[in-house]
């Protein structure tokens, strides 16, 4: 039987690798949006690679989150560190952004890159998803080994932004409403 810790290492490697690739491609797409790059062939390929990598990372992410929760013993003793709490909400933020980016691309189609506004949002949110996951991985390094690649930024891993429950519920309802309105608006066209 593979332990949750080992499974977490494997799945996080998949997630970080795929999200990093997707983030790089979204970064290059951003340069296309600003007309800094202009190779049509590469532009089309970047669209496929960015969303393909993001989809693969998205499929691995739930396994990484669940194995991480199990290996940290959260189910037994609760969250024993502020770093774990920050890791959880950062990974869920990355998951949400990735879902949003992929659903948008699926609903709107390749014409999402036709306009500068939607193109800019798609690239930026794709990169933000990647950033959230890389921050999560960095916090994981801090938690497990006491150091991480992003230590030079002196990130406040020990501070927790915990919203009151009523605010979380409000955010949850507004998120659901946004999702429904967004999908229906596109379907009714």
């Amino acid at each position: 039987m593979v332990s949750a810790g080992t499974l977490h290492v494997v799945t996080t490697e998949l997630v970080v690798g795929t999200f990093a690739l997707a983030g790089l491609c979204f970064g290059l797409k951003l340069l296309y949006s600003f007309k800094i790059l202009s190779n049509d062939k590469a532009n089309d390929a970047l669209d496929s690679i960015a969303h393909g990598a993001l989809l693969f990372g998205l499929l691995s992410l739930p396994f990484a989150i669940l194995s991480g929760i199990n290996s940290a013993g959260v189910n037994d003793g609760g969250f024993m560190s502020a770093v774990l709490v920050n890791k959880l909400w950062l990974s869920f933020a990355g998951l949400g952004l990735a879902i949003g980016v992929l659903v948008s691309r699926w609903k709107v189609g390749s014409s999402i890159w036709d306009e500068s506004k939607t193109s800019l949002i798609q690239s930026s949110f794709g990169m933000a998803a990647c950033g959230a996951i890389l921050l999560t991985a960095s916090a994981g390094g801090k938690f497990a080994r006491g150091e991480s690649l992003l230590d030079m930024l002196h990130l406040p891993y020990d501070l927790i932004l915990l919203m009151p429950i009523w605010l979380s519920v409000l955010l949850l309802l507004s998120g659901l409403a946004n999702l429904v309105i967004g999908i229906r608006a596109n379907s009714s066209q």
């Binding site: 933020a93 659903v103 006491g146 066209q189």
Partner: protein, 325 residues
Amino acid sequence: MSLMRIKATLVLCLLLLSTNLGAAEPGGVDDGTFDMQCGGACHGDSDQNATSSASLTLLTESNIYAGQATTFTLQVDQLTTSIYVPIGLFLLSDTTGYRDTPQDIGWQILSDSNGAVNNYIELSGFTTGDTTEWVLRAPEVGNYTFFASIHHGGNGVPHFGISQAYSVEVLPIPDNLPRLSTDFMPVVSREVGQQSNFQLLVEDTDNVTVEWRIDGGIANQANVTGDSANGFMVELPTANQPSTMQWRAILDGEGPQQTTPWFTLVSNQQGFSIDTTAVYLQAISVLLFFAGITVLLQTRNKTTSNTKAEKLFDETQPLGEGGEL
């Protein structure tokens, strides 16, 4: 193969060759009960280890009565690491790397200097000449061997060092010796602001005096109530800040007076606790919020631009109907 591919391959090879085979756990692995070199778990391959410059001296009584507690003091000299680099110290019963903890030969760790009962402890801010202590309870009569070992980083390489062997002889308990009961387990940690009251389990003891001190300072007397018939209750003062207190008992009875080792009691800040439901709810809310806002922004923008395009199309006059052409 094109020149571009050769260049790319060379760059990749250069990157692979420049990777470091060094320290696997530079931030430490935290205290625990580990075999020598963590059974190979910490530094992966022990062949990669460099020899530590540190000199280790293990000080303990050469004779101890069975079932009684004794102190193992480890002094580390010639330590050249930065005080910011954590060092790991082991107390071991042999050097095979398998079942070589003191517990494996029947000894029981009653306290370590970090407020737990581990044979491997990590310390930061440790400088040459500093000492650390373990208090152990001896097992059955016999001869036992102990080693101390050190792990630390430096120059990107894991360093390892081991002491010489130290022998301890466990002797049978003399009649009427005032002593701690073998059932007594000292409290090794508590939270700041928490008072410590416990029953001191003793045998062949008529009177108990308990002394306490902070970080090796002046010894003070603790409040002890009760008697040999009803048991002795000890009250140690509350700590107002994170600190390390040591205490020992002086036992009087028919036999010769006995003094226990200094037991370590670490006072820590209150442990981290958070409402798990609120954390999970916030995480799910953040997920839905970001997913929703992204989809809404993109689909609304697209719908608006489509509407504008349709409007422009509707306003366009057909060619030849009132046009000038």
